[in-house]
Subunit: 396 residues, 2 copies
């Protein structure tokens, strides 16, 4: 009767959003979602902004806006990116409905069924579901502590046809929690330039370093790359303003932004002008920097609590990274452990997380788990880690 | 160097959004965009709503929400649809980022390149650009004053393979301004049921009748259809709250909504929770009905001004419909006239509109123009029509 498209058969549900959609028992301690704790949102700031809006600004917020974005917000984002060293010349910015839409747009304008996307292994699960929905051939390059392992990258590139773009998240990687080293960034760039490959650089956690000294190590590849390299840089206000605003952006060569805008026209015409007006004032009224300082301290404190609890409760043969920012700790269990089994036990005890295979481009390897320290109230982090550790202990 | 997808080559820019993006000269009288005049937005109501929000509601608005929509808004929309007679049993509602996203989702889950979509001729240009971006084979069925001409529908259906769905906008058609008669609705439904065809019913102007007596003639096909017919009904808050909120919805059989939710997961994760919280309170606090009464009077008044001006200024061999609601007057010129030429002349004199071929699925026939009376200040409508009439006169 109902005859769906081939694309539907290729879709994989995001394991995380499934968890978010189902696990609503209020007593469950959730390390699953990569979302801020509600107490961390800039509500007082937005109350002030709302009170400051003129009737004209509100009218603009109610109205359709240009597909490329509310022009004053586009300008604010450009100024913000320029201040961070990102190149504007020859490039353009488009506002997207979250950076996930930027990833979707890139897929729409580049991927025909069977085309290859080279991503990381592990990789951001949201991006993986997008690429699969376009029937991409997804090839993952293993990560070490400094980024993609270049020998693997070279080997994969040699034997792979029709690579449309390479997708990486170089800062505070989700889920692996790593930062690409400067050397790895430059070496990867050199390879991309040699082959004239498009890079999609996804950088939603860039601002969320714990230590101001780490600010410099998060310099985007887009900043380091030569002008000729077609690097498409996407960021988001989800982690530094609020995900419910659904505002992301894409900075890319003009030729690509032109196509991106055409694609977005038929996706949602424009991103909510109402939330764009609020976001624009958040930048213009100088509310971002003080808020970031508050956030960095809050997340560092949460990470510290989680790391202390891991140290205290985890069985001996379990490993994890020490994040320097972002939202995540990536926990490696012995290879014979199935994270689904651990999740089942842990859920029964009252704590959840995301299993490793959600981040495997092939959806297989499953002896990792991702713990997010961003969402739970501080008081529940230690207890939650204890539960997860017990569940691992019982599965070992 | 940059190797775009086949989909990009099939994309057609929306003529309207191009106009909106470029024609920003403030002295131009624009009948182009299907957007409300800024003075008509419910700003006082939303100010009241914002002041009434609890901290918890604001926190929810800042956060990610379920892909299917903010649950209280989903419930409010369901109650609203049920009150209008739409069937909920066996169906489910998903909130979308404008109804354009609902059309995009339907395309994503149904259309493989080369599959057929049967639409109206003329048809909503936004939907046409979506279907083309999925490389659909688009076949238009001519309209008369009562809806799709059924002989043409039958003929097209007979000779067309792989029809994935039929797309119609039965009420206050954009651009044709017609309402499907009850007989035509029932006859079309019978044909859909006989062939087990999926219907995408797009109904954004349903509430915008000028005369309360016309409320009954806008009864959706979804309401008239048997339970078994897979009718997917999409509506929008763009015309009855504000397009900048980017909130639409899709009411469809559960099997289809399940796939739609999967597709939306990878498009933007969720629609802005912030604007969904505001919209939900707009329904819950009983602000919709009084606002609709105000809107209906305002649009009737604008339509009256435009119709009087058309009567006064248009050359003798130009025809137009008398709309009973919605935003548009569809103006037919003699067949040898090229609307682009008229637009060029009219733009030089200071008034713009959308040319007919933007609404032709094949992008050809061009002796119609669409005038929207919703956007301009009332005082400018007469003068704008006079300019357009002069431009036509000079082209004849």
């Amino acid at each position: 009767m109902v005859d769906f498209s081939a694309s539907v058969k290729a879709m994989r549900s995001s394991a995380i959003r499934e968890l978010l959609n189902t696990a609503v028992r209020p007593d469950i301690i959730s390390f699953a979602g990569g979302m801020p704790n509600p107490s961390l949102f800039p509500i007082d700031e937005v109350d002030e902004i709302y009170r400051s809006l003129t009737v004209e600004q509100k009218q603009t917020g109610f109205q359709y806006g240009p597909t490329g974005g509310y022009p004053p917000l586009v300008e604010a984002i450009k100024a913000y990116l320029q201040k961070k060293g990102l190149p504007l010349e020859g490039n353009e910015v488009i506002i997207t409905t979250g950076s996930l839409q930027a990833i979707n747009i890139m897929s729409k304008i580049f991927i025909d069924p069977g085309d290859t996307v080279i991503c990381e292994d592990p990789s951001f699960t949201g991006a993986v579901t997008v690429f699969l929905s376009y029937q991409a051939n997804l090839v993952g390059v293993p990560l070490d502590a400094d980024g993609m392992i270049l020998d693997d990258f070279d080997r994969i590139l040699d034997k792979t046809q029709k690579v449309k773009f390479v997708y990486i998240t170089p800062n505070f990687h989700n889920p692996a929690g790593i930062i690409y080293s400067r050397e790895r960034r430059l070496a990867l760039l050199q390879r991309l330039q040699a082959k004239d490959l498009v890079l999609l650089e996804d950088d939603p956690y860039n601002e969320l370093y714990f230590d101001p000294a780490d600010c410099a190590v998060t310099t985007p590849l887009k900043t380091l790359g030569k002008e000729q390299t077609p690097i498409c840089y996407t960021g988001s206000l989800s982690k530094i303003f609020g995900p419910g605003m659904r505002i992301g952006y894409l900075l890319a060569p003009k030729e690509i932004i032109n196509k991106a805008e055409l694609a977005k026209q038929s996706m949602d015409a424009c991103t909510s002008t109402f939330t764009q007006v609020l976001a624009c004032e958040f930048f213009r009224q100088g509310k971002l920097e003080p808020y970031l300082n508050r956030l960095r301290q809050a997340y560092k404190h949460r990470a510290d609590i989680m790391l202390a609890a891991l140290q205290q409760h985890m069985p001996a043969d379990v490993r994890w990274n020490t994040p320097k920012g972002g939202f995540y700790v990536w926990v490696e269990m012995p290879e014979h452990i199935d994270a689904n089994q651990v999740l089942k036990t842990s859920l029964a005890k009252g704590a959840i997380f995301v299993v490793g295979k959600a981040f495997d481009p092939l959806g297989q390897r499953n002896h990792f788990i991702r713990l997010s320290f961003s969402h739970m109230p501080e008081a529940k982090i230690s207890r939650g880690v204890e539960i997860v550790a017990q569940a691992i202990g019982e599965t070992l």
